[in-house]
């Protein structure tokens, strides 16, 4: 989840036109790969949304022009598609794996909620994509990602002792709360919640959504 950034420094090498002039800032030339464009696109999406993903804007951002872009990609759609697939690929696998490693099923929820709550950067892309569900290209991606996460949550609740149908509904509720929270606090800025308040809210979520031991059969 580190693929959201500008051009890696290893690519920024100056070539000095004739080894003269004060080539301090402008003569740095970059040679980009398709992956660089995809990363740049994801960064732009995270900051300004899918609608702001314009070819010329991204080119300026990367220090080149459109001519470069159309060498790597056939169209703007192709870039968006590649960026989305890249984002889906390098997903949140490690987090889920670590949660499953916790033996006590009931102790998984506090850990999961606290972890998700305290690294907000990875969710920026997800929040941006949520606001772009009118775009045909993002729907299947978001559908797959959301479905996988909901399946994971459902399994967690089942292993915590809930009946299958109850576990599914609890997973729906939990994931809806997650998505809604992203909307209400990232994009909309409801009175700018403080750190202490935020922690208290997370603990309240844990207390409310973690199955009570008596729920287990």
């Amino acid at each position: 989840m580190q693929h959201v950034g500008a051009v890696p420094d290893c690519k920024r090498r100056r070539l000095g036109y004739h080894a003269s002039m004060n080539d301090s800032s402008k003569t740095e030339r970059v040679r980009l790969s398709a992956e660089d464009w995809e990363d740049g696109a994801l960064a732009l999406i995270a900051e300004q949304g899918v609608g702001a993903l314009a070819v010329e804007a991204l080119a300026r951002r990367l220090g080149v022009t459109k001519g470069s872009f159309y060498w790597h990609f056939r169209t703007r759609e192709a870039l968006l598609q590649a960026a989305l697939e890249r984002w889906e690929e390098y997903g949140e696998r490690e987090v889920l794996a670590e949660i499953e490693r916790i033996p006590d099923p009931l102790k998984r929820f506090p850990e999961l909620f606290r972890r998700v709550a305290h690294e907000m950067q990875p969710h920026r892309v997800y929040a941006a994509l949520l606001k772009a569900l009118d775009h045909p290209q993002v729907v299947p991606v978001m559908s797959r990602v959301s479905q996988r996460r909901m399946d994971f949550l459902t399994r967690l609740y089942q292993e915590a002792g809930l009946a299958p149908d109850v576990a599914l509904n609890r997973a729906r509720l939990t994931y809806a709360a997650y998505v809604g929270f992203l909307q209400l606090n990232f994009t909309l800025g409801l009175p700018r919640i403080s750190h202490e308040e935020f922690d208290a809210y997370v603990e309240h979520m844990i207390a409310t959504l973690t199955p009570a031991p008596r729920d287990a059969s």
Copy 2:
């Protein structure tokens, strides 16, 4: 909440160019008011999002041309502004009032949840506006509306016996679940939930989010 529709029939009167021809469908002439444009704008927003609110597209939809539009509004922004204010005006007041009329605080939540769940049309505009929070004009409107609803929920939870801080967090959780559900089921179409499943989910929400009587001091 009936202001989202096409041109009201009372305005569709034919004027028959010379009382001849088969003027069955095309010679119906309409004279529109500013409110008609605002309603049309809201309908278009509900269906295709704020980004799809284009002047010429809306004009075609209403059976007229741009020339008409720019008589009523100075700019596209003005229309959006007026439509948003209109939407905020004719809000959900009556629902909230009816809920408060229920004497037993604990019986309010099932009623509220079931009501909100079973009239999904009014939420289409809200869901569309949620996806347009990057637009500067919608942010203040959504901020006000969401804040009012959250205040209402907080008060309900307090009157149900929760401590003020707990009530606030419970309200946040509830409203986040609402918003997230809109996203996941309207725009994204997670496996197209059935009616029975949906009702079961609502009941699960009620069971999970309604304060237990023992929570009351």
